[in-house]
Symmetry: C2
Subunit: 198 residues, 2 copies
């Protein structure tokens, strides 16, 4: 754990699992909730892998390496985060390609579209055009609810919605609640079954 | 370009495209040839993405972040490379999940199985068990030939071969030559079509 003078703490972490995880000691931020959701999805994916149900992985954060110190056995001493050109999660389930992005929002009333980048939208459109399964996992933290929403719906809103967000009620109406459990923490696979395999 | 006292040069690069690319000014090493193959496959994947044929990406190298300097806008100042728990490439093509690893060898006579990690083998077995398409792209540099070999064949050799390598002749007999062209540089998709979609 690294303590910074501004009160932020940083846990040693890997870009394979959680992104660089900043723990704010007091208030809960969107970023923090996003990290919690990410962490829980990673654990769920691990559960699915161990159970041989599905093989879905978080894509490591792309990093641009500037300097490597070979005297210390290939230690990276200067690098910076790059923008992801795809989504965070992909893998295979029952022969189909699965691709999704996970987002959390503190808002009670809507999900801000600013959470999504153009690159992600284009990538999901590409996946859909190629016959893959694509969706979002969206957590409404204040409601304690996690929804699976097919990417088509969100892409359509991204391009055509006059609002800069998708209202919570749309998730209730057109999305699908995902159950939390002890293991897996976010049991999204049954919802995927319901939506795409029946 | 960063010049090191030992004669190695390092180009600024990203773990999204080529891994940290070391250019040795004189001799060609296996690592270098691997980087060339990787580079050419990345370019080919870009071609396929732009042509909307297939959406296959190189997984960024997993990196364990130790220290981030927030005073310089989230600059990573200490990190190290982690082992990949999956393979380098995956994506979607004609509704199927595609997963592969790319390797190059200088040997004229065989492909060393030490090039492959247990993690990669297990991952490819998982992919196959879940109905995904899995293969290796293997370049025999000295022959100037690139083969696509289904993962089943290589997995079987990994577990059951008395030799610690797969002979070149097996690639000629059971593998499939991939054509090089101007664009895409390594045109593996037609071979995938032939093997898995007919």
């Amino acid at each position: 754990m690294i303590n910074y003078p501004n009160g932020k703490k940083v846990v040693k972490t890997s870009n394979q699992k959680n992104s660089n995880k900043v723990i704010k000691s007091k208030s809960l931020s969107n970023a923090n909730r996003g990290m919690d959701l990410e962490h829980d999805i990673n654990l769920s994916n691990e559960y699915y892998i161990n159970a041989k149900l599905a093989f879905i992985y978080k894509r490591p954060t792309p990093i641009n390496i500037v300097k490597v110190d070979y005297s210390k056995g290939a230690r990276i001493t200067d690098a910076y985060f790059e923008k992801q050109s795809t989504t965070d999660y992909n893998g295979v389930y029952k022969g189909r390609y699965i691709d999704f992005e996970a987002k959390a929002t503190q808002s009670r009333t809507s999900f801000p579209l600013s959470n999504i980048t153009k690159h992600q939208i284009i990538h999901l459109e590409n996946v859909l055009s190629a016959g893959g399964i694509a969706f979002f996992i969206v957590e409404f933290v204040s409601h304690g609810e996690i929804f699976l929403m097919d990417a088509k719906f969100i892409i359509d809103k991204y391009y055509h919605s006059e609002r800069k967000s998708i209202v919570y009620d749309d998730f209730v109406k057109y999305g699908h609640l995902i159950n939390r459990s002890y293991k897996p923490r976010i049991d999204f696979l049954p919802v995927v079954d319901e939506l795409y395999f029946k």
